[in-house]
Symmetry: C2
Subunit: 498 residues, 2 copies
């Protein structure tokens, strides 16, 4: 029986190692892998995933966990580990082997169908696969059976402790406020006259790269533990302790690489500042996707779209790109509000409306009130209602994200949660350290790095996301900070009364 603790530690270590290796395979696939290697790579990934799953549902692991539960000599840390491992194990054990295989096969085919549907701009190609995924996800909810709304069983995988019951009123309030704010902005004279003059042109890639490297260094990523590479879509992967890789992509819009690098650098800083003493355990990771996203959105939005940040970067931009124009124009262009069909191209004001739209559709699909074949129609209607625009085709609409093809229903809300948490964190930061905006204006983020480290990163998953926010800010998820921040900022920018 005294082998139980070492056994649990070994389980965590082995699955953590396999997780890192999988992250490496994924990173390579999206950065350097030659294309014909895809099949062989998929086999490697699926084999290692299977190994992790097998370890997790192993009967002797379960028996050890049960024995440990009955012991009364465990430290509080051991108890926490036990609770977290047990949560993962019980969840995995609830899903029959056949179901896991079927889901894996279905999503693999669905991803291909989704790509083909995008090529042909036709949702119908993807529809039967999504139909099957929705059915499987309903089954998954029935297996997992979290209390409350069936959707909770999916949401909890990405955001432990979060529920539809908590989330719905928050999103309702946010939606209402965002729509009102957007209308005000759109009715302003500033909006009607807005035009990109500084950032409208294509800027040289090597210069973009230079600025990205400057940026990540300044955020706190060091060469000896991180990398910046290229991929079609930007992402962050952690390949080991002291090994975080981010990617970007250089597009015509020079802000794309800049913003996305800042976003990924926020994720990467979190990973690099996780508690090293908890490495290779369930406590040495972020507790949720929402809190992870709070770090990327914190840097991308709260820092990267702020006046003080651009006080430092505007002269650099001007010099690097040989731009003409004044600070106010630049600051406005960076914060232009303009409803866009594509979520990831959206501004601060409209972004969360994209998320809420998806959340509502996901609920409808799970509840059965929305049929998969009606998705494009309902998608477009909601786009019209919330953002005032109608997608020209399904690629601009319901086919834009890959998440559903991967079976990731319940994932989208974490983007909005991160955005809301980021505003709460920033508000608290300024309260605690009023001179921070002067430091940001000097390009000095040392205080912020350490503040995030001790308040968020060093916690690992010893607390849930909402508990971390509550401890720092005095209240858990609170959308008012974000709404207040947006109203303040954009009433000034668009010159109307808040």
């Amino acid at each position: 029986m005294n082998q139980d603790l070492p056994f649990i530690n070994q389980y965590q270590k082995e699955t953590a190692l396999l997780g890192y290796v999988l992250a490496g395979l994924g990173w390579d696939q999206l950065t350097y892998m030659p294309e014909k290697a895809l099949d062989s790579r998929s086999e490697q990934i699926s084999y290692l995933s299977h190994l992790i799953h097998k370890k997790t549902i192993d009967d002797s692991l379960y028996a050890a966990l049960q024995r440990l539960k009955k012991r009364n000599d465990l430290t509080s840390k051991q108890l926490l580990i036990l609770k977290k491992v047990l949560r993962d194990v019980e969840k995995s054990r609830k899903l029959p082997e056949e179901f896991v295989k079927k889901l894996s096969k279905t999503t693999s085919l669905a991803y291909q169908a989704w790509q083909k549907a995008r090529d042909t701009k036709d949702f119908k190609v993807f529809q039967p696969y999504l139909q099957e995924i929705v059915e499987l996800k309903k089954q998954e909810c029935a297996y997992i059976k979290k209390p409350g709304h069936p959707y909770n069983s999916l949401l909890d995988s990405f955001e432990e402790g979060m529920t539809v019951e908590k989330l719905k009123p928050v999103f309702e309030k946010l939606k209402k406020e965002l729509i009102v704010l957007l209308r005000k902005i759109q009715q302003s004279e500033v909006y009607r006259k807005q035009k990109k003059t500084l950032l409208g042109k294509k800027l040289p890639l090597d210069k973009q790269k230079e600025l990205c490297y400057d940026l990540i260094k300044r955020v706190g990523l060091t060469d000896d533990a991180s990398r910046l590479d290229l991929s079609t879509h930007p992402f962050t992967q952690t390949l080991g302790v002291h090994d975080v890789r981010i990617t970007t992509n250089f597009r015509d819009d020079p802000l794309f690489s800049f913003d996305s690098t800042l976003h990924e650098a926020g994720h990467a800083l979190y990973e690099l500042q996780l508690p090293e003493e908890d490495a290779y355990t369930v406590l040495g990771i972020a507790p949720s996707l929402g809190i992870h996203e709070s770090q990327s959105r914190f840097w991308e939005n709260m820092i990267g779209k702020s006046r003080c940040f651009w006080n430092y970067y505007f002269p650099k931009f001007k010099k690097t790109y040989g731009l003409k124009g004044n600070f106010e124009q630049m600051y406005r262009e960076i914060n232009f509000v303009h409803p866009h069909f594509i979520r990831i191209e959206s501004d601060e004001v409209t972004y969360c409306l994209h998320i809420i739209l998806r959340f509502e559709l996901e609920l409808g699909l799970l509840e059965g009130s929305l049929k998969v074949h009606d998705l494009p129609k309902v998608w477009n209607a909601k786009m019209k209602e919330y953002l005032g625009i109608t997608p020209k085709n399904d690629v601009e609409g319901v086919l834009q994200d890959m998440h559903w093809s991967q079976g990731a229903i319940g994932y989208f809300p974490t983007y909005a949660l991160g955005t809301i948490y980021a505003a709460q964190l920033y508000e608290q930061l300024v309260k605690e350290h009023p001179s921070v905006e002067r430091e940001i204006a000097r390009g000095d983020y040392t205080f912020i790095q350490n503040w995030l480290k001790s308040n968020v990163h060093r916690v690992g998953s010893k607390m849930l996301a909402d508990e971390i926010i509550q401890k720092i800010c005095g209240t858990g998820l609170n959308v008012d900070s974000y709404i207040h921040y947006l109203n303040q900022k954009y009433s000034q920018l668009y010159n109307f009364k808040n």
Copy 2:
């Protein structure tokens, strides 16, 4: 019992997949990995290696193999697979778990000590670790117990079927001939006057890169299944079916990147042309390191240092680098003979003397006639005897290769075997297809690619290295081809009677 064949296939598939993943971890470590990631990466590598080992010594696998041995309904291919898997399994099972752990730990420490010894230019730092490795390797020979010389048990891991008894007379003959040839060259007037005028200067890195890319494309590597990256030392790794990565390094000597890329491209072409129908089995790989090296040396030496090859590449070089000078001078400079302390910097004539020296030292260490603490002294004496030069320090001498620190005793001979096999293959190629040199002079290697594919690559490991050579050339290992080739070529180049 009818589950035995699927079980063996599954074992091969899983270990092949893990092997690919390990190759990827190794490739990344030497190309892109941030330095502080080393410890975590080592843990990943050691865990996956351990998984493979555990699978290989698994009792149920062994039992299945034993049952299969008794069956009389197996196809010849199944029998061959059985034989090969059984060979690996029996070898692994002969080594006690404790021994494997100790060797792994010792080599890990020894590698660090070797690096430190190089930094301080002092063999003594490495000596106690090498001492322990030699003792462990003696134990390994006692466990494996191949017939004949104890060294056979080590050699056979790298070159199945090869023995000291076969190799010693071949190396003896080669050594004598090479020393005579080297003396003749050194006594020639051409040698005394030789001076690098064309290739003596530093050439731009981006131009070097351009030529390397041209070269690998011409050899037959395609972008969709291979890559060329940078690392300190060039190498080839296979990360999956249709996924071969080679590396090079751009140094002052512009031929370094060119030669090494051609060398690695030879390895890579082999990997890409292995029989796809045998992928993920023990038959879908090269049968030995020697035959693998025959492919790299074939391209590097037999093709890449030939008059016809440079007929095509000289104008390209001249144009790319803006060189002045004539073809004869260039051809001479490429083939300059000049004894060098460092094996990997050596020319065709002296290279194998470096190998034979190491082979003799390894035999001495295993037989006990040579003590580890005498290694530097004996190394330097042999260098003086064979090459006429004396290393200034241990880094130029006994510390130059990492192989011993990794426990790879018995590996070096495969470099010479590859070199000899390459000469045999080229001789046969010209015999079968006399117009090949005219094709090479046009930069067209299509025939060669296909010839190597059908004769060597497509065989996989369905035959041993020596059997493959025998089938193609009519005789197995035969050093006369190489000796003849060198005497012919260098008597012309250095203008003396052969």
